[in-house]
Subunit: 96 residues, 4 copies
DNA sequence: GAACTTATGTCGGTGC
DNA sequence: GCACCGACATAAGTTC
């Protein structure tokens, strides 16, 4: 340890140190908020995985469940428009 | 078309219908549980994005924050091992 | 169904049909060009995977090789700046 | 600086140095092979991007082109099986 | 070793 | 006009 040092152990210091400490603290808070949120996110991701596992054990196919879920996210209108153009392209390529 | 119909409108039906309905219901519950969880997950992901935005507005670099956060997830021992090998590789390539 | 039909079976038709056919052909060419390029890209990706496999069989750690390769892509100046900020952040978090 | 040094400047040295140098050289070759391949891969990716751009300038929708291309990669049989189960699930959810 | 999930980088769209 | 923002595509990591 340095006796005087430019560290954070002084009770009374110069303003510059205060600024640095304040900044450090601010960054630390941002980081911790993010880490906490990531923790929550991971917990939910685990829950989702568990549900898929349970469904699989009941005979459902998770892969196809995912397709259904993805489809349900689309607005009916958007999907219809997309499908209309899609049909034109497929026809052009002899796919249908 | 069947005259009576093998659909879900009959008040009293055969057991097979009951089975189908039960199965449908089970799948629906799985799907809805997953969709709810995904909704929560997305909300948290949005929160994380907001924190990064706020940090950036305070002058912090989100890209480097991510590196720090990733690093903090590693066990000190693992990181040291990784860094040791990394140094060997860098030396071999004339990077240091 | 139209009597004469707006299809591609007529030997001699109207200009509109010609336009459609031309358009179809143009789209098809775009698609095929992309598919060919994607094929080449995949072949190279496979080659890369093979090199990593070979390196691993020689005792090298692919994960750390990737870090080195990523690092070598950075301009020396950029990397130094990044590392400088990184050190500040780590210090603020008591990581060093 | 060490007087004799464990570096690569000696013309004649011990076997251990030779081993290290040989190892360094091997790693370097792996890395360079990968970097070269990645360069080629990137060039092709750029070409693909250019084709999409050109197609867009001709009025085609790249997003939908991607869907078509993805679909063309599937084996007809696989897609049919998938679609069969998919229909069952969708029916259970009242999607169709 | 293959598939899926997450993370990162890029691109087009938008608002100031 | 640029810079932020969201979406998309790609690449990496992880799990089975």
């Amino acid at each position: 340890m340095s006796e005087i040092g430019h560290n954070s152990n002084e009770i009374l210091g110069d303003d510059e140190d205060d600024d640095i400490v304040a900044s450090d603290q601010q960054l630390r808070l941002f980081i911790e908020r993010i880490e906490n949120l990531e923790g929550e996110k991971k917990a939910i991701a685990d829950d989702i995985r568990d549900v898929y596992s349970e469904a699989r054990s009941q005979g459902y196919d998770p892969k196809i469940m995912r397709i259904v879920i993805r489809d349900r996210k689309l607005q009916p209108q958007d999907r219809q428009e997309r499908d209309a153009i899609l049909d034109v392209y497929k026809a052009a390529l002899g796919l249908i």
